[in-house]
């Protein structure tokens, strides 16, 4: 697992998952459609990713679909970094 994927997973675990929730979180776990992250609290995830990678994610790119898995988020970051 690459460092970016790991850092996003770690952030989501800390930011969104309760301490007594032992469900596994992988790069393909549905985040928004799976009810882990909602569109309201997604904003702090977006801010974390922007800050960590020195990028700005345009609102049009920060869709619930793009943010639905860590894999999708990483792909979006890599695209914006190019």
């Amino acid at each position: 697992m690459d460092e970016l994927t790991r850092s996003v997973i770690d952030y989501i675990k800390h930011e969104y998952i309760e301490a007594d929730d032992d469900r596994e979180l992988t790069a393909t776990t549905p985040l928004i459609s799976g009810g882990i992250v909602d569109s309201f609290s997604m904003i702090s995830l977006k801010r974390f990713i922007e800050k960590k990678n020195g990028i700005t994610i345009p609102d049009v790119e920060a869709s619930p679909e793009a943010f639905d898995t860590v894999k999708g988020i990483v792909a979006l970051v890599n695209k914006l970094k190019k």
């Binding site: 969104y16 909602d38 309201f40 904003i43 702090s44």
Partner: protein, 415 residues
């Protein structure tokens, strides 16, 4: 522009998508005043049948109280039907200011401003008092109207895990560079019925130089020894910076809401809160009724005491029957089914037994957390609760879930 065939087809398809997702809402038509005993037509076109209402926000049983109705009649006669104006042109009557003063006294704040609803109060307050130098830090389970209000505001948005004070503290530390920090919470969370840790929130606010906002819609009139709200219950009465609440639940249940708090915030709302500025004044008849409601709740705790007794009785009964309820102290008692279809089927069968309650499921509550939200009222007598309890027992037996916990119910029905 014409409503083209293509447009019609598009919207019909959207409505069908909502229906297929199981999210289509159907209104039940009530043929009686709001009360513990109501007459319901459901489905549409069927006969009207009597039912015990277990899902109204009529916490104090004042929605159809004869003294409130009489006061509303008198207000209609003395102040008219409508004002045909927003507040700041020619829509403010003496009774509007009188009601605002009563609410200020009751809530323990400095001033109050009426809004057409608490939805409007929440939609307008943040934009009126904060800008892009500030941050709003909200509990993740705040009401949708607060989420909408925050989206209209230019201040940074952040959230903390539900009632997680450690996580809130992290966020307050992170945002020390902002001009103002506003912590935002519901007093009672409407879907779970749990109370915010307002005393701990106020302590953190003092430690990290933040302000505190609480929506007390599901607590005003009955939580706390004299019904002032969660801030009274938690021993921080008089320490709130902003409270929003509604006249549409315990306080008569008609409509209307307010922002109450520091007088500068109230003045900013009067000047800048768009739902206030561009909506008609609250109708005189509602203000007159609400003034009587305030007189009733400020002169006696009898109704909130009865509500508390009813809530305790109902919680105990649900546990004895073997249903899985969310623990709490409020008159909101969620009965958990986890599976959306089971919650809907259970509610339908309850209605057949003469008990009216509604199933809630995703996206209103998290996936796998479907429930029937029962709500107690001072209008309920023990007889109502005993009959409703028997209906829950009968339907619970049918589905084989009595005495079963979360894990077993999910094993039986899935999520």
């Amino acid at each position: 522009m014409a409503f083209s065939a293509a447009a019609r087809q598009f919207y019909q398809s959207e409505i069908e998508t909502i229906r297929e997702a199981g999210l289509f809402k159907e209104e039940r038509t009530i043929h009686s005043p709001q009360a513990a005993d109501i007459e319901v037509e459901f489905p549409a076109g069927s006969g009207v049948r009597k039912a015990i209402n277990m899902c109204a926000n009529n916490y104090l049983g004042l929605s159809s109280h004869p003294e409130v109705i009489a006061a509303a009649h008198a207000g209609l006669d003395s102040r008219g039907y409508g004002m045909s104006s927003v507040r700041f042109i020619c829509g403010t009557q003496d009774i509007h200011r009188e009601l605002e003063e009563r609410l200020t006294e009751f809530l323990g704040t400095e001033d109050t401003l009426l809004f057409p609803s608490c939805m409007d109060a929440n939609a307008g307050v943040f934009e009126a008092i904060l800008n892009d130098q500030d941050v709003m830090i909200a509990d993740r389970l705040v009401h949708a109207s607060i989420v909408d209000g925050m989206r209209l505001c230019k201040a940074m948005t952040d959230t903390f895990k539900h009632s997680d004070m450690g996580h809130l503290e992290e966020k307050l530390q992170e945002h020390q560079d902002k001009r103002f920090r506003l912590i935002i919470t519901d007093g009672v969370f409407s879907m779970d019925g749990d109370l915010a840790k307002i005393d701990e929130i106020v302590a953190l606010a003092e430690k990290y130089d933040a302000m505190v906002f609480s929506d007390e819609s599901h607590s005003t009139g009955f939580i706390g020894k004299t019904g002032r709200g969660v801030h009274e219950h938690c021993g921080v009465f008089g320490k709130m910076d902003i409270i929003t609440t509604t006249l549409g639940k315990a306080l008569g249940g008609a409509s209307g809401g307010c922002v109450s708090g520091k007088r500068e915030f109230i003045e900013m709302c009067r000047q800048r809160a768009r739902p206030y500025l561009f909506s008609n004044t609250v109708a005189p008849v509602i203000v007159a009724g609400a003034l009587k409601v305030m007189e009733i709740v400020m002169s006696s705790t009898e109704r909130r005491d009865k509500l508390e007794w009813n809530a305790n009785y109902w919680r105990k009964m649900m546990i004895e029957i073997g249903l899985d309820i969310k623990a709490g102290e409020s008159p909101i008692v969620p009965v958990m089914f986890y599976n959306a279809k089971l919650a809907q089927d259970f509610a339908r069968d309850l209605f057949a037994e003469g008990v009216y309650a509604v199933g809630f499921f995703f996206p209103v509550v998290p996936k796998g957390a479907a429930r029937i939200r029962t709500q107690l009222s001072a209008a309920h007598d023990q007889r109502h609760l005993d009959i409703a309890g028997e209906a829950f027992r009968k339907v619970g037996t049918k589905y084989g879930i009595l005495g079963k916990g979360k894990k077993e119910i999910i094993e039986m029905y899935g999520v």
